[in-house]
Symmetry: D4
Amino acid sequence: MMHWNVYLAGEIHTNWREELKEAADREGLAVRFFSPVTDHAASDACGGHILGAEEQPFWHDRKGAGVNAIRTRPMIEKADVVVVKFGDKYRQWNAAYDAGMASALGKPLIIVHPEEYQHALKEIDAAACAVASEVSQVVEILRYVTRGELV
Amino acid sequence: MMHWNVYLAGEIHTNWREELKEAADREGLAVRFFSPVTDHAASDACGGHILGAEEQPFWHDRKGAGVNAIRTRPMIEKADVVVVKFGDKYRQWNAAYDAGMASALGKPLIIVHPEEYQHALKEIDAAACAVASEVSQVVEILRYVTRGELV
Amino acid sequence: MMHWNVYLAGEIHTNWREELKEAADREGLAVRFFSPVTDHAASDACGGHILGAEEQPFWHDRKGAGVNAIRTRPMIEKADVVVVKFGDKYRQWNAAYDAGMASALGKPLIIVHPEEYQHALKEIDAAACAVASEVSQVVEILRYVTRGELV
Amino acid sequence: MMHWNVYLAGEIHTNWREELKEAADREGLAVRFFSPVTDHAASDACGGHILGAEEQPFWHDRKGAGVNAIRTRPMIEKADVVVVKFGDKYRQWNAAYDAGMASALGKPLIIVHPEEYQHALKEIDAAACAVASEVSQVVEILRYVTRGELV
Amino acid sequence: MMHWNVYLAGEIHTNWREELKEAADREGLAVRFFSPVTDHAASDACGGHILGAEEQPFWHDRKGAGVNAIRTRPMIEKADVVVVKFGDKYRQWNAAYDAGMASALGKPLIIVHPEEYQHALKEIDAAACAVASEVSQVVEILRYVTRGELV
Amino acid sequence: MMHWNVYLAGEIHTNWREELKEAADREGLAVRFFSPVTDHAASDACGGHILGAEEQPFWHDRKGAGVNAIRTRPMIEKADVVVVKFGDKYRQWNAAYDAGMASALGKPLIIVHPEEYQHALKEIDAAACAVASEVSQVVEILRYVTRGELV
Amino acid sequence: MMHWNVYLAGEIHTNWREELKEAADREGLAVRFFSPVTDHAASDACGGHILGAEEQPFWHDRKGAGVNAIRTRPMIEKADVVVVKFGDKYRQWNAAYDAGMASALGKPLIIVHPEEYQHALKEIDAAACAVASEVSQVVEILRYVTRGELV
Amino acid sequence: MMHWNVYLAGEIHTNWREELKEAADREGLAVRFFSPVTDHAASDACGGHILGAEEQPFWHDRKGAGVNAIRTRPMIEKADVVVVKFGDKYRQWNAAYDAGMASALGKPLIIVHPEEYQHALKEIDAAACAVASEVSQVVEILRYVTRGELV
């Protein structure tokens, strides 16, 4: 049996990752989840906090983005599947950027988004193996993919 | 000692994979088998079932093929050896497609097919490390390859 | 302006390649077409003819397939776009194999096939950027892709 | 002397590409620009127009995105430099997606955006070789990069 | 949870690696450290000692560098993160060379150096995800990266 | 600590692999050895034995070489270090071929050969990290590389 | 039409390359040939001559092999097809090494050798697209591959 | 005949590139040279000049290094050969970094340095195809490599 590494990109202000992990645990799926740091405040602060404060927001953010990339880049490369969830807050360019990286690296993509974003996300959806609107569908996909079972 | 990942592509309406696994188990070979979902009905239904029904067969199948690719693409990439079996039913273009992917990824190929397909499969056979007509030959190859023993 | 290399795989017993080239010439598209050898008899005979006859069809075909691969493999690698046409004759496993190689190499795929093959080709269609039923649609795609013009 | 391929991704409702090309022409830079189809209507319509109408917007857009990818993917792969401009309209997830692909392919990135998007684009900016706010700065970068001259 | 491979390149005449390992152990971080041989005398002598003495220093060093590369090249390739520390002794071209290799292989880089080297190291710093001046900052980065926690 | 995969190519009519393994075991080195099948008769016979006899030696050998490649190719790809020993019997082109493959795949090479072959092996020696004349030197290299210790 | 780069490796003490080039010229084939330096004396002397004499043959040869690799490695990488000829003199390990490199790089191989070497070259022959015994067969292959014509 | 791209990295305060180009021109070598911007002042100023001044030297240099990388990274990737010259001024970590990148990308390296740096550069020299002490030797190598002639 194969163990699956699944990277969970995108939306960080809801608890969809926990929801997904709990469902996967309940089902006993052979899945290991990887995520970016989802503590929004820590994720924004990490660069300046560790490497020294910056007055200019641009360089403050550059430091933070650099530190976060140390975590996310190897995780995306180790992933067998990349899930990217687009929600209803913020501009979420980073989610789309992660989808682009994953796609260029040949990772199967599962995109999750509310239907209203359908047109705006058409290029990303077209590059995906599956487009879902609910996290529960991702659970079903992972069960099917890892076990070959439809419920 | 090395453990071998072997992906079993192709024919899904006979039990050749089980036959192969049982023989490998009996021999105690250091082999782990990967397979596509071989429940034909589930494999056809998975996209529509999980992601929502489609009226047009083309899009129904697109959804299903996408979901199945989430499983098969990482398995082919993790494989040390890819076995592709062509049988006597259906058009089996997917088997040939998997052989093409495996070949471009540099995976050693073992092709299994009845002799009557010899001419039609000549390009794929020519790209293979071994061309067998019986599953029992695949068992012998795997024993030799993993243990260095001829019986 | 970019010049485009387009590899034309698949069906070799109709004149769809000539049809496509003439249309591209008429339009003055910045396209260079690559093809396998489409003289079926020569393609079958080349190995034995050049490298010496074989009694067994299996080895006769192995020699021929090897010689043909010297031509097709570099052409697929140099292609910007790969078109694969499935027709109504023969088993066409080589067409599917070429699609698999092109896909693993990250080449955008255009698949052409009659509608009746829709289910049998679903995995290959799902990996394609475009699925057409007529060669004239491929001309339109190439005009749009190379010039940005819809007629 | 080297000739440079520069892919211009992102914003398609202003004439920044023409502005950039004219400036590069005026300077006589050894640069060849590649772009997605920037006729917004054609870009949205191409899939359904060539390959047949779809009732559901999701599949209409899937067809269009597929056809556009035939153009953009090889262009990004052939590019020596990728410029991505974020403007003040639309969600622009496709721009971010292209930046992700370019980054994973190891292409040097130049990002152009108004200052107000600084925080939202921090991960993409951090992956870039240069972050500009004006197209004229991109001209200056290209002159410097291709000629070694600062004005 | 993911386990992280961290390669520690650069300065070999201080005990910064031990300091870092002890801190990581104290924190219980899921990190495995890889290092070049840091016994300076052994590292210089290994080639001649094992493979036979050389009169000319150039060939003596060629043999030693070859033997050391057997260790360091696979370690850099297996690394998820590469830390390169520049100190105040020696020319340290090998540290910069390792940074170049790691960068071309797409590894996230953490550079550690005293502030006075800021200008001389600007290209390497610009390619890095993080630039630190103290080893304790590397510990903090590794804790944040592997656990998502800021202290 | 890292575990090392070491592929042992070349000479198969002496017991140098056993000698090396015993020494590595005695030292308790963190090394896992991979080898081609070294039973010369089995290695020659495997193709015809499993896949059916061939009258022509050329095709008999083609079958055998194909089956052996299923074993050796993945082993070379998984190797961290490749050792190639040239002895005093046979033409040993396969040893040189394996060295070429390993080199193109970026594997550190250790070449072992009697001094008299120095001129004939100059290109291969030049691509190697270490050139030894005795198997005992390979043991010393592996101890140094895996443990950092010179004796 | 495609132009073909053909690298001619192996035997350097006969004039097979000139013979091949003349035949290709006569036919007007769209082929560009690349070769190692075939002036045996210059090839042996180049390192010491340019970079300074060495007393030890091992280092003299190391220098020469290094300088020759500057020429041959990029040529093999640029080649669409690699021809390797084994003759009746010398050990020719370099020819086998080049075949291994070309194979790992995915280049189609044409091997030329007298029949008596069939068993000794079986692994290399098995990796080849074509095995010829005469240079005139290589001409025929190149005509067929580049023009699709059998004579 | 092949045309050669040669990237000239390292020392920028002497006129060794001009010397090399003139000699190559005189000989009529089929060589095209690529270089970083060698106007030291422009190279330092480019980032701040084009993208806006920075108060902190660290960020001033980050901007400059980013802009210079847009030029140098594609040039190194397009190079067939990379020459790196170490001189007697500055720390030259960037030269060593470029050597590391070129090496990881598989480019043949020619290193030029005064003999006194032999020990400090031993790892880089060991990764090189040729180590010269004079620019005139590089000319001789390029003549030999591109023409096969020793003078």
